[in-house]
């Protein structure tokens, strides 16, 4: 039986070379005796138990050996594991891969599960190394400005070479060296040296550790003691090299007493500065008499509107905007997702469509007063999306207070109702839009109401051809509005 002795300190190449030779020579997995010897030199490599050399492969090493890329990544990680069985597991999987290329996808296979287990431990160990290495500062190197730091760490596996690039990315502007029993890595600003030879632990101290320990004990909340949760993430085996860990037993022991002290201590009177720093009342609640209200006053008051429950779930009131003496007022249904976030009407997809079409027919958005029948966004959550919900009659009624104030203050000559909700808010009636579209309706009081569809209706038409048709009709409607807007007596005729 061939004996293969590897150094086994995380070097993937030595195993790969050995495995390649064995595989090409057709040596089955069960026939190999993999051994680990830290002192192994190349002369020990490939000798049979009786000292016989394993026959050199008769075919060229590049001939037929291919493996999936995922195996190389997996194997390079697994080889760092300290378990002596890793060589054999890897060789077994390598062998089986020659017959079954999809083997690694078979996560429930015993060999694959074992391999994945090795990789998982190595990844965890690597991650813990990035977390628990603690640098201590040592004096400058002679003739150098760069600060110098050293650390001693004890990983479970041969992960130093895997993790070293992380430290290089992170600590580029300082010299550092991490020594471990399983290898050493060092960086001096120009070259990173990594060796698998064991490093030396040397006693050192660092003044900043004291501040770190202060932080560690102060950030701890004694009322939420969860020792097991701590230990599962920061097992005791790491504690000896963590400057903060020696505080832990006392922190745990004192926790109960400090919580009891908090409970016993009676509430105290506020300190003197409390009264001085009370913020001045911000003027909310001052009421302007409605007869002298301007549009800005109404807008400010509407911002705090709680007339209906919609305000609880919406971000903010979306009040109308436009010239306070605009001849034409556009009324939509309610703000949507984007309007709710931005606090401005008609800025979402439907608003953009409206702007585009209006521009095409020569209607300048800046000359229009644009608002909605309901000023808060009504929606329901569907997964992580807010889906628009049509406001009900009650909500429209409540919000008509604001719409009426806008109408009274802006005094438009013509109002455009886009969609059924706007039409209902403006006229109190609910005819089918199709029956009254393009007409000017005259409510009991106020200006005439021109009826058209809401632009979001266009966005919801799935068929492109029909959508185009309807958009053209909408453009016709807006063109008519532009025409009416230019006419001095619009909306007045009856």
């Amino acid at each position: 039986m061939p004996v293969v002795t590897l150094e086994g300190r995380g070097d993937f190449t030595e195993w790969r070379e050995a495995a390649r030779r064995l595989l090409i020579s057709g040596v089955p997995p069960e026939a190999v005796d993999w051994r680990e010897n830290a002192d192994a030199g190349s002369d020990l490599f490939d000798r049979g138990a009786d000292g016989r050399q394993v026959p050199a492969p008769t075919v060229s090493a590049t001939s037929t050996l291919t493996v999936p890329k995922s195996f190389l990544d997996t194997a390079a990680a697994a080889i760092c594991h300290a378990d002596p069985a890793r060589f054999a597991i890897l060789y077994r999987v390598l062998n089986r891969l020659q017959r079954d290329r999809n083997l690694l996808s078979l996560t429930t296979d015993e060999d694959v599960a074992m391999l994945n287990g090795l990789v998982k431990s190595v990844r965890r160990d690597s991650h813990k190394m990035t977390a628990f290495v603690r640098f201590k500062e040592v004096g400058h190197r002679a003739g150098s400005e760069r600060r110098r730091f050293v650390a001693w760490f004890e990983p479970d596996h041969y992960v130093v070479a895997r993790v070293a690039p992380f430290f290089q990315r992170r600590f580029f502007d300082m010299d550092w060296m991490i020594a471990t029993p399983r290898g050493v890595a060092a960086w001096d600003g120009a070259v990173m040296e990594v060796s698998s030879a064991p490093g030396q632990k040397s006693p050192m101290s660092d003044d900043t550790e004291d501040l770190w320990r202060t932080y560690f004990s102060s950030i701890f909340n004694p009322a939420r003691l969860k020792v097991r949760a701590m230990q599962s993430e920061m097992p005791k085996k790491y504690w000896k090299n963590l400057p903060e860990a020696s505080l832990i037993p006392a922190m745990i022991a004192g926790a109960e007493a400090s919580v009891a002290a908090m409970a016993e201590r009676a509430a105290t009177d506020p300190p003197a500065f409390h009264a001085r720093v009370r913020p001045a009342p911000d003027g909310q609640g001052s009421v302007v008499p409605s007869s002298r209200m301007t549009l800005e006053d109404v807008r400010a008051e509407a911002a705090g509107c709680t007339r209906c429950p919609l305000h609880c779930n919406a971000t903010r009131t979306v009040f109308g905007e436009g010239p306070p003496d605009a001849p034409v007022m556009i009324v939509g249904e309610q703000p949507g997702d984007q309007e709710d976030l931005a606090g401005r009407p008609f800025v979402g997809p439907a608003g953009k469509l409206f702007d585009t079409v209006a521009q095409q027919v020569g209607l300048d958005r800046k000359s229009l007063y644009v608002t909605n029948a309901v000023k808060h966004f009504k929606y329901e959550m569907r997964g992580k999306r807010r889906l628009h919900q049509r406001p009900d009659a009650g909500e429209v009624e409540h919000c008509r207070w604001w719409l009426d104030l806008e109408l009274a203050l802006v005094k438009p000559r013509l109002v455009v109702a886009m969609g059924a909700t706007a039409l209902f808010a403006l006229t109190g009636a609910r005819p089918k839009i199709a029956d009254v579209r393009g007409q000017i309706l005259y409510p009991e009081s106020g200006p005439g109401v021109f009826v058209t569809v809401h632009p979001s209706f266009l966005l919801r038409i799935p068929d492109a051809g029909r959508r185009e048709e309807e958009t053209a009709r909408f453009a016709q409607d807006l063109a008519r509005v532009a025409e009416l807007a230019a006419h001095p007596s619009i909306g007045q005729a009856r």
């Binding site: 078979l106 599960a113 603690r134 004291d210 949760a229 701590m230 919580v259 720093v277 971000t315 807010r386």
Partner: protein, 410 residues
């Protein structure tokens, strides 16, 4: 006499511990090898230490100052509290961050502050710290800034250029609760700043026409925190609020913080044992909502008082209340259906899907994936296994109830 740096560090980290977030993940990759300075971010975060409260210590989480003009009842730093006060200078915060970072104690800085003078003044000082770290000290580590409520949008925008994450705390699940316990905070304004920040983040994520490059602006997004157990809101209300926050403002995380006794507590609030199990269940429910395709209504529907079951995790509680959904065939059920099986996580479902393309799976196969067969077998059909009457057993719940002696853990 001026307190030493160490004394102030003790005060200002003690004052910061009630903020649950310590995440350093979800940001872009950066490396000091590219900048010649210090610091890197790797995408996933690193917890550099754990305190005995089980919480990860990833960032230097401190307050710039714990003086505050607000008087929020639940807060250790409220103006009426007799807690000791202190303040860091900009340079001190920068020094602490850099020196802790160099020793690999932390991933970066999580800076919050009491409000001094005005919201804008406070926010401006915090932005100065972030700018000093990024610009003057060439620091590429993680920075999380807590936005100050009412700070001007312009300052928030500047903060977003330097910070990986911005957060603003919603504090309590309902507006009424906030009005009662945090009289100076305006829930409407908190939502407004979240909305504005979302629009800015979305805009920055839109590749520009010229360069197709994305502008770097708060790459790790925004988060928030809700205190549970201080007011009367039940879990259904808490989770519905979270869902709205996720949906409306694209938050990366909503943190739940079990209301915990503070030194010199307000008379308005009882000193209770923090409801840690409730907090844990809320996080589990939050996870189901974000990663397992559950709607919030489904999770809380079968809980009569709107509270999650403290004894059973929310997925198991849902499964026991919806037995008609089971058993599922592990060899044919969809990914989304398997996510709903108690005992299967997203990773094990992925492994199952990978393996079952090649083999019909048996219970033993699941065991090899480190799945608890005892837990899943009542809900699954596998090759050679049918859970006969199991799913119909009236005592199914008792099979999963925790053993009484485990309770004192929580």
């Amino acid at each position: 006499m001026k307190k030493s740096l160490k004394e102030r560090l003790a005060i200002l980290s003690d004052a910061a511990k009630y903020d649950a977030s310590c995440a350093s993940s979800g940001t872009v990759k950066r490396s000091s090898a590219d900048t010649g300075g210090l610091g890197s971010t790797e995408g996933s975060g690193i917890c550099h230490a754990y305190a005995p409260d089980g919480r990860c210590i990833s960032l230097l989480k401190i307050l710039m100052t714990n003086f505050c003009i607000y008087d929020c009842a639940y807060c250790i730093n409220r103006s009426s509290s007799n807690v000791e006060r202190a303040r860091f200078t900009v340079e001190e915060v920068v020094w602490l961050t850099m020196e802790f970072y160099r020793r690999n104690y932390i991933e970066g800085l999580f800076l919050s502050s009491g409000i001094i003078r005005s919201s804008d003044y406070t926010m401006e000082e915090m932005v100065r710290i972030a700018r000093a770290l990024r610009v003057d000290h060439n620091f590429s580590g993680y920075i999380h800034l807590k936005s100050i409520p009412e700070a001007s949008p312009l300052l928030v925008e500047q903060a977003g250029l330097y910070a990986d994450r911005l957060s603003i705390n919603i504090e309590l699940p309902t507006d009424a609760g906030l009005a009662r316990y945090a009289p100076e905070k305006r829930p409407g304004n908190i939502r407004r700043s979240m909305g504005e920040l979302r629009l800015k983040i979305d805009a920055a994520n839109d590749p520009t026409l010229q360069t197709k490059r994305r502008q770097r602006f708060v790459p790790a997004g925004q988060s928030t925190q809700m205190i549970v157990g201080a007011d009367q809101a039940n879990d259904r209300v808490v989770l519905a609020t979270s869902a709205r926050l996720y949906g409306s403002y694209g938050l990366r995380r909503v943190y739940y913080s079990a209301f915990s006794p503070i030194p010199d507590a307000s008379r308005k609030l009882p000193l209770i044992k923090p409801p840690m199990m409730r907090e844990h269940r809320l996080y589990q429910a939050d996870w189901l909502y974000r990663f397992y395709g559950f709607e919030i209504d489904e999770i809380t529907a079968d809980q009569p008082d709107g509270m999650l079951d403290l004894k059973l995790d929310p997925k198991l509680a849902w499964a026991l209340a919806n037995r008609q959904f089971f058993p599922l065939d592990v060899n044919s059920a969809t990914r989304e259906a398997l996510w709903r099986v108690p005992g299967l996580g997203t990773k094990s479902v992925k492994a199952i899907l990978s393996a079952r393309r090649l083999r019909r799976l048996r219970l033993e196969d699941l065991a090899r994936l480190h799945i608890s067969v005892k837990k899943v077998r009542s809900f699954l059909v596998a090759e050679g296994w049918t859970p006969h009457r199991l799913i119909d057993r009236s005592d199914l719940r008792t099979m999963f109830d925790p053993k009484p002696e485990q309770l004192d853990l929580f």
